[in-house]
């Protein structure tokens, strides 16, 4: 019997469109002998839609047509199954979903929001749980966790918008300690939007103001010179993490901009089109080091399914730094798995999701007796 997989994508995120591309790439590569596919598109204003119309990428050129051509739904649990319920009359269950597959990028979705939403109703889903997702989204928190686990990271500092407004001097002097040039990033956005390099205090202030447009939490890191950008994807869960080939990303400018990352490259869509070299032209020793770091990072966050980890390599000092982790990477990093067919990769991600769900539900989360049965409402509750 086929498993029904509900792909969730889109969402209130700066990477809304990228998510559509990644999701449709995945949908088009699913093994239809094993799975039934249901697209669940989350619009830019937070409404879920489903329908065959969503399966064609060209239909997303005019997003205003989607509410007319698709059915607005909510995700519910009914009779111990998960279902898409039509929001409009007659509120019919349109289909059941056996497992959800979020292919979402960025703030508001990839950060554990979707995972947490599914967790709340107890639904099984592929990819990492909300804990890993949350840590993976926040560039500051993940650095803290990686540092704690002995993983090499670049020197950094961070602050919130209100601190900056109240105490600009102090924060600027703290950044000065990192020594210029520095790179300023919104801490939780996910995409390359709002990221700028500053060579001096004047451009630093500009960069901070630009970043503050997107997030109130800002991270400032020391720029690595003589840079080689390397990425490695990891598939698996805590029982077994498998690193992929390592790619070398060649950026036109100093950093991989939004345009580099997703738009340039003409016809082929998504991350797969950024200009890259696979496998990267690096020594065996460095390859091994990055693979080990990748597995260590995944263990630290307890990720599940597929992730991509981005590294900064200082060619002069021969030192590698973990830059960031992507919990749900663009194009699901399928292009880094040359030896594995994309459909097999997707099947593995789904299997890992099922395993994660089974493992979680083995643990007791509620008690048979209802505490409220003997609750008289007068005493305080000691949790």
């Amino acid at each position: 019997m086929k498993l029904k997989v509900g792909f969730i994508y889109g969402g209130i995120s700066t990477e809304h469109e990228i998510s559509i591309i990644s999701a449709l790439q995945a949908i088009n590569n699913m093994n239809l002998d094993k799975y039934d596919i249901v697209p669940i598109y989350l619009s830019k204003n937070g409404v879920f839609y489903t329908g065959k119309y969503l399966l064609n990428i060209d239909n997303y050129k005019d997003l205003s047509l989607i509410p007319k051509k698709c059915k607005e739904v909510s995700i519910i649990k009914k009779n111990n199954d998960f279902a898409l319920l039509s929001v409009n009359f007659p509120h019919k269950v349109l289909t059941n979903i056996d497992i959800f597959f979020p292919v979402v990028h960025g703030y508001n979705v990839e950060d554990g929001s979707i995972a947490g939403f599914l967790e709340t109703i107890g639904a099984p889903y592929a990819e990492s749980d909300l804990y890993a997702s949350l840590i993976g989204q926040d560039k500051v928190i993940q650095k803290m966790v990686f540092k704690e686990n002995g993983i090499n990271i670049v020197p950094y500092t961070y602050f919130y918008e209100n601190e900056y407004l109240d105490n600009e001097e102090e924060i600027i002097s703290k950044i000065n300690e990192l020594s210029f040039p520095v790179i300023v990033k919104p801490a939780r956005l996910g995409s390359s939007v709002g990221i700028n390099i500053a060579a001096d205090e004047v451009s630093l202030k500009e960069a901070i103001n630009e970043a503050l447009k997107y997030d109130e939490k800002i991270i400032v890191e020391k720029v690595i010179e003589n840079l080689k950008e390397l990425n490695c994807s990891v598939l698996g869960d805590k029982d077994l993490y498998k690193p992929s080939l390592i790619e070398e990303v060649s950026a036109k400018e100093n950093i991989l901009s939004y345009e580099d990352k997703y738009i340039s490259g003409g016809k082929s869509k998504g991350m797969a089109s950024a200009s890259r070299k696979i496998p990267a032209d690096i020594s065996k020793r460095l390859t091994k080091e990055i693979e080990n770091m990748s597995v260590k990072a995944c263990k630290a966050l307890n990720t599940s399914g597929i992730v991509r980890i981005d590294y900064l390599y200082d060619t002069k000092n021969e030192k590698v730094y973990l830059n960031e982790i992507n919990i749900i990477p663009g194009s699901l990093s399928f292009y880094l798995w040359k030896d594995t067919k994309y459909k097999d990769l997707l099947a593995s991600i789904i299997e890992l999701g099922i395993k994660k769900y089974k493992n979680k539900s083995r643990k007791q989360t509620s008690f048979e007796t209802n505490v409220l049965q003997n609750f008289n409402g007068t005493k305080g509750i000691k949790k």
């Binding site: 019997m1 199954d81 539900s361």
Partner: protein, 523 residues
């Protein structure tokens, strides 16, 4: 006035209906005439109440019109009837409440309709005649329910088929699931719960809840389980007649099976032990070629059984070191049991909060199957220490100075004897509260007499439930122990309250043995 009188009769009708439908539900919807037997027994025991209802109905029909004295007569009798009807309903509802399932709603609705039909037919007749006929309907309500239940049978059959197909489809959707069937005369439910706790260390799965061991219960479990992602499903399989285990296997198709034991449980519906053995072994014969059956080597009926199906057979035992799994160095205390578990030449020390020899059997049978399903001895050891005590099955509970061994679920001679043996090991004073064994067929009296003899020198006080039915136990106790301190009560609550007031001073252990539902309380 007329409508008020009709209303009173309707109130009586509602309470009587609630009571009898509750009893109908608890007697398997009159399967194998269980409800009819209950009704006849109930009428016999409450002959006065039944006669009053009937005579009242006859008298109303015979009177032609109401005079003052007849009003007094009507209200007086109605008051008595409604009062006792409410009491009767409330009392039984406390123990095991009526569950308003769709089936109950269907039969209740049909009952109301037929009642209204009778009322409408007689509506233009004399008021006394109308009320009389209504009273008749109420007096004969259980019989009316039997007929209505029979009429509804085809509908229930269709409803069941729909649910069954849904369950089969859902189970098919669970890829790579290992279905495990457990049957036997005793220890099914315990073994199931123990196996579930052990497998849970490594795998995720589900099992039938409570004692849902009929096709309906198993279908319900599959339909209501939380998720389709499971590694195993444990189906407890019960049978009161030949072919019933086969029927269950045809629904769930188990690949693995455990037959805990074969003995004289439900012998009154089975006739003889050979039929019981054959019925239990339907599980074994239904397994596929690559299936595995786990059998009790200490059970002579299972040892003698000639299998037709050539499946892999694993034996467990407490006495035979050549069995595939056995236990040695068993020790009990008021904290539980410890023993050495041997599986296929390897062994490991295990501990559990469960008590009694029967539970050791259950644990080793579950352990060897868990091993067969890919669990290491270390994992099994962890699983055994995780086993939760099973409610009402030699369940240890403590309140203040009282240790309660609750063994109040259905019972049998072996289980009862084990409970006594466990009680013997406890420190301090010992008390038993029991109505004795039921549904044991023609040997019931003899078995209960033996049961009495076995407990005679163990307990410091004996609480027996039911004056009539506990006679053989009482005789057994006195034959062995002339000075025995015996108290007889008509209900469990009565006995327990007396024990709390009168005996529960200092360290004391009380064994609650076979406190059965409702049907067996004597009024």
């Amino acid at each position: 006035m007329k409508y008020f009188m009709i209303l009173l009769v309707i109130i009586l009708f509602v309470f009587e209906s609630l009571f009898y439908i509750q009893m109908l539900q608890q007697n398997s919807y009159n399967e194998k005439n269980r409800f009819l037997k209950f009704t006849l027994k109930n009428i016999k025991e409450n002959i006065n109440y039944f006669a009053l209802k009937l005579l009242f109905a006859v008298s109303l029909v015979l009177f032609s019109n109401f005079e003052f004295i007849l009003y007094v007569y009507f209200f007086l009798i109605m008051f008595i009837l409604i009062y006792s009807s409410i009491l009767q309903y409330k009392k039984h509802n406390k123990k095991l409440p009526l569950k308003f399932t769709k089936r109950v709603i269907r039969i209740f609705s049909l009952n109301i309709i037929s009642y209204l039909v009778v009322m409408i037919i007689c509506f233009n007749k004399n008021l006394t005649f109308l009320l009389g006929v209504e009273a008749f309907y109420i007096a004969l309500l259980p019989f009316a329910l039997i007929i209505l239940n029979y009429l509804l049978y085809p509908i229930e059959k269709i409803v069941y088929e729909v649910y069954k197909n849904k369950a089969i489809k859902r189970l098919n959707k669970m890829e790579n699931i290992n279905v495990i069937g457990i049957t036997g005369s005793f220890g099914k439910t315990s073994t199931k719960m123990i196996l579930n706790d052990i497998l849970n260390v490594k795998y995720k799965g589900f099992c039938t809840t409570n004692s849902f061991n009929t096709p309906k219960g198993i279908t319900k479990t599959i339909n209501e389980t939380e998720s389709i992602f499971n590694d195993y499903f444990i189906a407890e399989m019960g049978a009161r007649a030949k072919g019933e285990i086969k029927e269950l296997c045809d629904i769930v198709h188990p690949k693995y099976g455990i037959i805990t034991s074969v003995g004289p449980a439900h012998i009154d519906t089975f006739k003889n032990i050979d039929i019981i053995t054959k019925t239990k072994c339907e599980l074994l014969e239904s397994l596929p070629n690559d299936g595995v059956i786990v059998l009790n080597k200490d059970n002579e009926y299972l040892r003698k059984y000639k299998t037709i199906n050539k499946v892999k057979t694993l034996w467990f035992s407490l006495n035979d070191n050549k069995a595939d799994a056995y236990a040695s160095d068993i020790k009990y205390s008021d904290k539980g049991s410890t023993f050495t578990l041997h599986i296929k030449k390897k062994n490991i020390q295990v501990e559990t909060s469960l008590l009694g020899k029967e539970n050791i059997y259950n644990i080793i049978s579950a352990a060897i199957l868990a091993n067969e399903l890919g669990m290491s001895l270390k994992e099994i050891q962890k699983g055994i220490s995780n086993i939760k005590t099973i409610p009402h099955r030699l369940e240890l509970k403590k309140t203040g100075n009282i240790t309660i061994i609750d063994d109040s679920y259905n019972s049998n001679p072996v289980g009862s004897q084990n409970a006594i043996e466990v009680l013997k090991l406890m420190k301090g004073k010992k008390v038993i509260i029991t109505p004795g064994m039921v549904e044991m067929g023609k040997d019931e009296e003899k078995l209960n007499y033996e049961f009495g003899r076995k407990m005679a020198n163990v307990c410091d006080r004996f609480y027996l439930i039911g004056k009539k039915r506990s006679k053989p136990i009482e005789k057994g106790i006195i034959d062995k122990n002339k000075k025995a301190d015996i108290k007889v009560f008509n209900s469990f609550n009565g006995a327990y309250n007396d024990f709390r007031k009168d005996f529960a001073k200092g360290k004391v252990t009380v064994l609650l043995e076979n406190d059965l539902p409702d049907t067996y309380t004597e009024n």
